[in-house]
């Protein structure tokens, strides 16, 4: 007997012996689960279970039974219907809950609490239901084209009903926003409720844009007001710290929401707390922070400005750069442009350079734009004072090279000298520096004031790099001359020892090579016989071995130690040669008038006056002035001070000689200026020769580029006129603004 499906039931023995082939065919139509069965199962077991879960009632059947029922239904290909039924049931349930909520008249707080509860319940119910329908979930997922699973479907249902109810949506959002508000005001809120609500919005992907909008609007208003309040009441650092704290607080507050909302809120904060107030912040106390080198606070400022700068159209870093540049400019201007503070100009500049460096490196974290701009501004401002900075840098270096190790350690000195070189690089008018440095070095060498040969040498190597070898060759020549002179003096003494031609005068001569040393004025002094003899003796000696050379004696830097026998005691007086000439006159005569001294010595009036002042009106008055007073006049007369007596034997009356007199300073600068004029003329001729024809403005531009020292335009124009007059160039007859080269 055959029946469908019964072929398999055949006796295996029968099968073997029948020798018929065994064919197994599938069902032509798969078996269908009867609808009856489905509905029954659903009604009786599943639905009840679902409802029980939703009502928080105990479930009648065991979870395993229910699970198997679901499996059956699934195997019976009732998945689509099952899902539909499930979905409908969930929707019905949540719709009712939300409607009840809608209809109620709860306070905002209670409303939120209800939403929270509804969602929490729904969520856990969904999980339970899903565990019952797990098989469906798996089979559903595999067999359908949707990529959702049951859980997602449940959530979607929730979202659908929640969104459909405008009242629920609006009230929830308002409620959340008001919680934020309260928290900001400092009121106590239920933080975990708040977080849960946000998580609900985030994880269900409920209409986040509306929530986001509301949060942003409220935040904008809040911070717009708060920022102004805070800005007015607080100083700059307090405000910045307030901003920083707020930013982290707010970020923390909505950390459950999506990144884009968090980012949007940050933007609102940054805009209202920072971007809109950048200039006020800077005006509040930026300068003071820089003044007091408050690195940590400036770091904070820098950080926050960095954040603000990322906003479109916000030029926070540019503002910072400009503010800092302005600060630098002002400070440098204060240091450099007040002639009464010239003596402290260089130390102040060095300190300020250090400060700028620290601020740029540490506070502004090596921001290139800020560092470069401030450096340039500093340089520009230093050079707004023409020529003087160069002079004072030279002076300061002189000071250090004289003081040497007495006050500072070797390292300190080296680092200070390095810093001075850096400053030097920034200054225009290096020719002034060179002139003064040379003169100061000359004085140091001739008066033996160098503290350390090592330092001098290291300076020279540094200067070689900055000024070129032609300049340092001169300096090196000066050192050599001094060394050589020592040797020469040695030979001189050896030679003359027996002859004793000098009598009891000890002579030391420095032979200086012209060209290495700064120029010294020609003088026609009237030396007393003894000194003249010394001079002659030496000259003869020297020229014996150097026949082709010419010696020209310079007296300005000469000094003597005189043995002075006063009635009360003897003294040794260290005096300049000029002073010596004057004093020796009193060997013969007790009183002399100004005019007599002038005639007898051949000194210039200004030098004479200065020398007489130092001898008659200073600390050690070896001669007395009549009439008494602090100024030397032509009608004065001077008298030997027979009552002179001081506790120490050895007295220095020539200490100012080692310093530069105002005339010397003026002369140095004048020489440099003359050189410059010469350079300008050469440059003009050179340029014109090359171009043959040029407009005035082009010429000026070229000159400004080529000439490295400060050169005001009127000076350039004067030189151009001079060259026109002397027929090097001419004006173009057709165009007054053009020049032509005249061959």
């Amino acid at each position: 007997m055959e029946s469908p499906g019964s072929r398999m039931g055949q006796n295996p023995a029968q099968a073997r012996t029948s020798s018929k082939k065994l064919l197994i065919r599938p069902f032509s139509t798969p078996p269908q689960m009867p609808d009856e069965y489905f509905n029954q199962t659903w009604e009786n077991e599943l639905l009840g279970a679902i409802r029980a879960i939703q009502d928080k009632q105990p479930v009648r059947f065991s979870y395993e039974e229910l699970y198997r029922k679901v499996e059956d239904l699934c195997r019976g290909n009732k998945t689509t219907q099952l899902v539909a039924k499930l979905e409908a049931e969930c929707e019905k349930h949540i719709a009712k809950q939300l409607k009840d909520l809608e209809d109620s008249t709860l306070s905002q707080e209670d409303f939120l609490a209800s939403i929270d509860r509804i969602w929490e319940d729904y969520f856990s119910e969904l999980l339970t239901i899903r565990s019952i329908f797990l098989f469906l979930d798996r089979k559903y997922v595999i067999h359908t084209t949707y990529e959702k699973n049951l859980f997602d479907m449940g959530v979607q249902v929730f979202v659908k009903r929640f969104t459909a109810s405008t009242k629920v949506m609006d009230t929830s959002i308002k409620g959340i926003v008001s919680l934020i508000d309260k928290d900001r005001m400092g009121e106590v809120i239920d933080k975990s409720l708040f977080k849960r609500l946000l998580t609900m919005f985030a994880s269900t992907k409920l209409n986040t844009s509306q929530l986001e909008q509301s949060i942003l609007t409220v935040s904008t208003d809040y911070f717009r007001v708060k920022s102004l309040e805070n800005l007015q009441e607080n100083d700059i650092v307090t405000y910045l710290r307030y901003v920083e704290r707020q930013m982290s607080l707010e970020s923390e507050r909505i950390s459950c929401l999506h990144q884009s909302t968090r980012r949007a809120l940050s933007v609102v904060l940054e805009k209202n707390l920072l971007v809109n107030h950048l200039s006020s912040i800077l005006a509040k106390g930026f300068d003071q922070l820089c003044d007091e080198t408050r690195v940590e606070d400036l770091k904070l400022l820098n950080r926050l400005f960095g954040v603000a700068d990322l906003h479109d159209g916000c030029e926070a870093y540019s503002m910072l750069r400009d503010s800092f540049g302005e600060y630098v400019r002002e400070k440098v201007d204060q240091i450099v442009s007040n002639p009464e503070q010239d003596d402290s100009m260089v130390p102040n500049l060095l300190d300020f350079m250090e400060k700028r460096k620290v601020l740029c490196e540490e506070a502004f974290e090596n921001n290139e734009a800020i560092a470069d701009f401030s450096k340039q501004t500093m340089e520009k401002q230093i050079n707004k004072r023409p020529n003087k900075p160069a002079e004072y840098v030279a002076k300061h270096i002189d000071h250090i090279l004289k003081a040497g190790n007495k006050k500072y350690s070797e390292d300190e000195l080296t680092s200070t000298l390095d810093k001075l070189i850096v400053l030097f690089r920034r200054i225009q008018g290096k020719d002034i520096f060179e002139a003064f440095y040379e003169r100061d070095l000359a004085k140091r060498l001739l008066f033996d004031r160098s503290a350390s040969l090592d330092l001098e040498n290291s300076m020279i190597s540094k200067l070689k790099v900055e000024c070129g070898a032609s300049f340092t060759r001169k300096l090196e020549g000066m050192f050599k001359d001094v060394d050589l002179s020592t040797d020469i003096m040695h030979s001189f003494r050896e030679n003359r020892r027996s002859a004793g031609a000098l009598g009891d005068i000890e002579l030391k001569v420095n032979v200086l090579t012209t060209g290495f040393w700064p120029s010294m004025a020609k003088e026609e002094l009237k030396l007393p016989r003894e000194l003249n003899d010394c001079q002659e003796t030496f000259t003869t000696f020297y020229l014996e071995s150097h026949k082709s050379r010419v010696l020209r004696w310079q007296y300005g830097n000469g000094s003597c130690v005189l043995s002075a026998t006063f009635p009360k005691r003897r003294h040794l007086l260290s005096v300049s040669l000029y002073q010596t000439l004057i004093l020796l006159l009193f060997n013969k005569v007790e009183t002399l008038t100004y005019k007599e001294i002038l005639a007898a010595t051949g000194l210039s009036e200004s030098e004479l006056k200065r020398a007489l002042l130092s001898l008659a009106c200073g600390r050690h008055r070896v001669i007395l002035k009549q009439p008494k007073g602090k100024v030397v006049d032509e009608d004065d007369s001077f008298v030997y001070n027979s009552g002179f007596e001081k506790p120490l034997v050895h007295l220095k009356i020539n200490s100012i000689q080692a310093q530069s007199t105002p005339e010397e300073k003026l002369e140095t600068t004048e020489t440099v200026f003359k050189e410059r004029v010469h350079h300008i003329d050469l440059a003009i001729v050179r340029i014109m020769k090359m171009r043959q024809m040029m407009t005035h403005s082009r010429l000026i531009t070229e000159l400004l580029e080529q000439l490295k020292f400060p050169h005001p335009i009127p000076l350039l124009k004067k030189r151009i006129e001079y060259l026109i007059e002397n027929l090097y160039i001419e004006r173009d007859p057709t165009n007054q603004q053009k020049y032509k080269y005249l061959a």
């Binding site: 005035h696 009127p714 124009k717 004067k718 026109i724 007059e725």
Partner: protein, 200 residues
């Protein structure tokens, strides 16, 4: 209309020339202009000198006189006078005036020096630019105090200056090619004008 006849021209010349040299000197000029009824201060006398291209101040050589008259096609006093009068409008023509003005520098300059001394320069300007430059008085005041001699370049550029710079000196650019003396003048003049305004 009389043209040029060498004979008449020569006799005219002889009437005014110096006794023993062939040139009309200061004395002769005085008489000449007296006869022409032209004041010696009149600018046309200079224009005449310019036309004749006389080399030396207050002198006219025979050649200069003759070739000048030949050029003007006159040889008697009356037509000479009207020709000279006809020179007057030339000062209103820019190009001619410029040539004349530049010629005056060399004419009045002491030929031993490259520059013109201050007194002469002042006189020349006073005469030539009398009606032509509004601030002539300020300029003369200024250079009296601030300059020692006037170079040809300054003299020449000054004319351009009077022509091209506004009366209130607006738009004057001191970084342009104007000589430094003129830059300083502008500063001086501006100050003076401001003072005058305040007084009003």
């Amino acid at each position: 209309m009389p043209g040029y006849r060498e004979k008449d021209a020569i006799s005219l010349f002889n009437k005014y020339k110096e006794e023993d040299v062939d040139k009309i000197g200061l004395d002769g000029l005085e008489r000449l202009y007296g006869d022409l009824s032209i004041s010696l201060d009149d600018i046309v006398t200079l224009l005449f000198a310019w036309r004749l291209n006389t080399g030396t101040l207050c002198e006219i050589t025979k050649d200069e006189f003759l070739s000048g008259l030949r050029g003007m096609r006159v040889c008697d006093i009356r037509s000479l006078k009207s020709s000279i009068e006809n020179l007057r409008p030339l000062i209103y023509d820019q190009k001619n005036f410029r040539d004349f003005y530049l010629w005056c520098f060399d004419y009045f300059r002491d030929s031993r020096y490259k520059t013109m001394d201050l007194e002469t320069a002042k006189a020349v300007w006073a005469q030539l630019l009398k009606e032509q430059y509004t601030h002539l008085d300020l300029w003369l005041e200024f250079i009296e105090a601030n300059a020692c001699a006037i170079s040809r370049d300054t003299y020449s550029v000054f004319l351009n200056f009077t022509w091209s710079v506004a009366d209130d000196f607006s738009g004057y650019d001191d970084t342009a090619a104007w000589p430094v003396l003129i830059d300083e003048f502008v500063e001086y003049a501006r100050g003076k004008l401001a003072e005058r305004e305040q007084e009003i």
